[in-house]
């Protein structure tokens, strides 16, 4: 009971989160509060808060997940010396996220957007080793590209005089604005050119990953793009680009997750593929379905991360799935959490994921602008989803390797079980309740019979493939080592995106420094002038060091020659 009373404020937070979701879903009007902060000749920046049903639901989700994660942190980070510093950073992050959600003004949104990037830098770099620092730099700099793009879009919108980009009907809009906004969202949500940071950011502590990298930071990009949908949909180029890149990321993440061995990296790649699915649904002009999936995905992905954290923490920080086995006996509650999460993720009937994810797939099949390639890749991505989620959870839960043979049940602290409970509610019931109350999520789906059957059967195909691998009926993909390195490095994406950028940056920086600062500017400036003056004075000395008579003779000769020239010309 003492534990319950100490957790009471967090439980209140979780309950208020669910309450906010509930009220948001039945809210019929939107409230906008606007306070002018700065007024000048022609510009005015104002601080505004938009309480819409979308923002209320999202704020509720963030509150639920942050309350659960904060409760979980009491157990996970109990041995941390600087616990208060950690929790301060976490709450600062949550504050920036809520700021970003509620503010529709692009200038004030930048405060939350920048704050997200900086606090996630500090959180990822929390453990003091090199890997954390490099992951944090990668995260912060990729997010910074997004910040710069938001600044560029602010400058483009300066012509309009207002920055309320969410319900925006501009007088004259430059069509490049949609491309800029889409790219900004893509950096935050780790789509193709910028997807290297999300698996690297798993160097953060697991509660941070659960809060930041599954539900809040990465969905900020999706949220910006779907809220600015009017602006984004004005340019077909932006939506086409988004579709191609999100499908690419879907297949990339799915195929890399099939082969990865690090538990947290697999979950990160799973997040990446679901984010691509959300971006894909925005690109086929369905923003609110993307939002639905965003909310349900946030809850069950956070649940999956928390379960994985329980597993990792109880096994002496082993993150490799080859070192974990038979955990259904030692950690039943964590295992049930993970199982519920992946069942919901794969889209098993009538769980949360079924409502949101299958809606996206069905509506995409109804869309006539899809090519065969998109179709195939989408289905492939979904098969990968069920395959790798089955793989990690079942090998961790039911597999048997010979490292860990104990059958004792480990103690699972109440602070770990309470978040599971609160997130179960979301993972199981959220899809049903939101889908039935919000009219924005309701669609009429008309499909051929084979199409709807294939959608229904996809999770089971993945499971069947996993069973085939287990019983060695089919192929064993992990014996192809050359292919393995290709997939483990995420299709060599680092060599494509971050490596050329880094090399160009450093080489050009060095060249600039050596050629200009230490080269030409010195030559034309101080050192060069100094040297020239020295030479001139040396010459002067040579001239003046001869005997006086020689000089007299020489100069008189010159004068006579000049005079004769003048006289006789």
């Amino acid at each position: 009971m003492k534990l319950m009373s100490s957790n009471l404020p967090l439980l209140v937070l979780i309950c208020s989160g669910y309450l906010s979701i509930f009220t948001g879903s039945i809210l019929s009007s939107a409230y906008l509060l606007e306070v002018p902060v700065w007024d000048s000749h022609c510009l005015s920046f104002s601080f505004s808060i938009l309480a819409d049903n979308v923002s209320m639901i999202f704020v509720g989700t963030v509150l639920v997940i942050s309350g659960s994660v904060a409760t979980y942190c009491k157990w996970y980070m109990a041995s941390e010396t600087y616990y208060n510093r950690f929790m301060g950073l976490v709450w600062l992050f949550v504050l920036s996220m809520i700021f970003m959600i509620l503010v529709p003004n692009l200038v004030m949104l930048l405060i939350g957007w920048d704050g997200l990037g900086l606090t996630s830098f500090l959180l990822v770099a929390y453990y003091q080793n090199n890997k954390s620092l490099s992951a944090a730099m990668l995260t912060a700099l990729t997010n910074r590209i997004g910040d710069v793009l938001v600044l560029v879009s602010i400058s483009i919108l300066l012509n309009e005089g207002g920055w309320l980009v969410y319900s925006y009907y501009p007088v004259s809009m430059w069509s490049g604005l949609s491309v800029v906004v889409v790219l900004a969202g893509m950096t935050k949500s780790a789509q193709m050119p910028f997807c290297a940071w999300l698996p690297a950011a798993m160097a953060a502590p697991t509660p941070v990953s659960s809060l930041v990298h599954s539900s809040t930071l990465v969905t900020a990009g999706v949220y910006l793009v779907l809220r600015s949908f009017y602006v984004v949909s004005a340019n077909p180029l932006a939506t086409q680009m988004l579709m191609i890149l999100s499908l690419f990321t879907l297949v990339l993440a799915g195929s890399s997750a099939v082969f990865a061995f690090d538990l947290k990296k697999v979950i990160a790649l799973s997040t990446l593929s679901q984010l691509s699915l959300m971006m894909f649904s925005i690109s086929i002009l369905l923003p609110f379905v993307a939002f639905f999936h965003l909310v349900t995905h946030a809850v069950f992905k956070a649940l999956l991360f928390l379960g994985a954290g329980g597993v990792i923490h109880s096994n002496q920080s082993i993150q490799d799935i080859r070192g974990l086995s038979s955990l259904w006996q030692s950690l039943p509650v964590s295992m049930s959490a993970m199982s519920v999460a992946i069942v919901s993720l794969s889209g098993a009937p009538f769980m949360s994921g079924f409502y949101s994810k299958d809606l996206i797939i069905e509506l995409s099949m109804m869309d006539s602008s899809m090519t065969y390639g998109c179709y195939m890749l989408e289905l492939l991505g979904l098969i990968f989803t069920s395959f790798y989620s089955a793989r990690i959870v079942f090998s961790v839960m039911l597999g048997s390797n010979y490292i860990n043979c104990s059958t004792l049940r480990l103690f699972e602290h109440l602070n770990m079980q309470v978040p599971f409970l609160s997130l179960y509610v979301g993972a199981i019931f959220l899809g049903l309740s939101l889908g039935s109350t919000m009219e924005k999520f309701g669609y009429v789906v008309v499909l051929e019979s084979y199409e709807s059957l294939s959608i229904f059967l996809i999770p089971f195909v993945g499971l069947a493939m996993w069973w085939g691998v287990l019983t060695k009926l089919g192929f064993n993909p992990w014996s192809w080592t050359k292919m393995l390195s290709f997939f483990l490095s995420m299709w060599l994406v680092e060599s494509l995106t971050s490596h050329p950028g880094k090399t160009l940056f450093f080489k050009s920086s060095l060249m600039m420094y050596q050629t200009l600062d230490q080269g030409w500017l010195e030559l034309l400036g101080p050192q060069g002038v100094y040297a020239k003056l020295g030479q001139v004075s040396q010459l002067n000395e040579v001239v003046q060091s001869n005997y006086f008579t020689y000089q007299m003779v020489a100069w008189s000769l010159v004068t006579i020659a000049g005079l004769s020239l003048v006289v006789f010309m």
């Binding site: 077909p236 060599l492 060599s495």
Partner: protein, 191 residues
């Protein structure tokens, strides 16, 4: 490590001229406990016995001992050790001081404190800045292959739904028919 390595490579080429402007003792005295007072630089050895004695003093065999050159950049009879950073040393050996990757009594480079694990290593400057050619082709082939796969092969099949209604101005094709509804009041004759 991966992204920070580039930064380390950037700074690994500045090792000698900047730091060697400090006297030798201030550099190594920062590593309290590893320095030996007998290692303080003295006059250069003049004959073979002195050379052997100095080598023994520094813990090296006489064939390896070579004092630094006397052109103003050396420190007397201090041996000219290669600048190997802690990153390049073998991680599988059992060192006496694992955090420094050094054994007791091993001669220390004058810039030893800059060659530690979390600082510089000159070996980074020799790494190639780009992946091998086959890898570059593989990356480009993958990316363009997937893009081509998505972008070609359109689906033409009958769907019992109306064509999607876009906003005005979204479809820039000239041949898309858009119906514009006008609202006139119903006349008496049409009831």
């Amino acid at each position: 490590m991966a992204s920070f390595r580039g930064l380390r490579r950037a700074s690994s080429c500045i090792l000698s001229p900047v730091i060697r402007s400090r006297p030798l003792t201030t550099s190594l005295c920062l590593n309290g406990g590893n320095w030996n007072k007998d290692w303080a630089p003295a006059a250069l050895p003049k004959n073979e016995e002195e050379r052997a004695a100095k080598a023994k003093n520094y813990g090296m065999i006489p064939e390896d001992y070579k004092p630094m050159s006397n052109d103003g950049t050396g420190f007397g009879d201090y041996p000219d050790l290669p600048a190997i950073g802690a990153h390049s040393r073998s991680p599988w050996e059992h060192y006496d001081m694992p955090h420094l990757k050094r054994n007791y009594g091993e001669p220390m480079h004058p810039e030893f404190d800059a060659l530690s694990e979390d600082r510089l290593d000159p070996a980074f400057a020799t790494q190639p800045g780009y992946p091998p050619l086959w890898k570059q082709f593989l990356i480009l082939a993958t990316v363009f292959g997937v893009f081509t796969f998505i972008a070609t092969f359109p689906i033409y099949r009958f769907k019992p739904v109306m064509p999607k209604q876009y906003r005005h101005g979204y479809n820039t094709d000239a041949n898309v028919q858009m119906t514009h509804y006008t609202f006139e009041p119903a006349t008496e004759s049409s009831e």
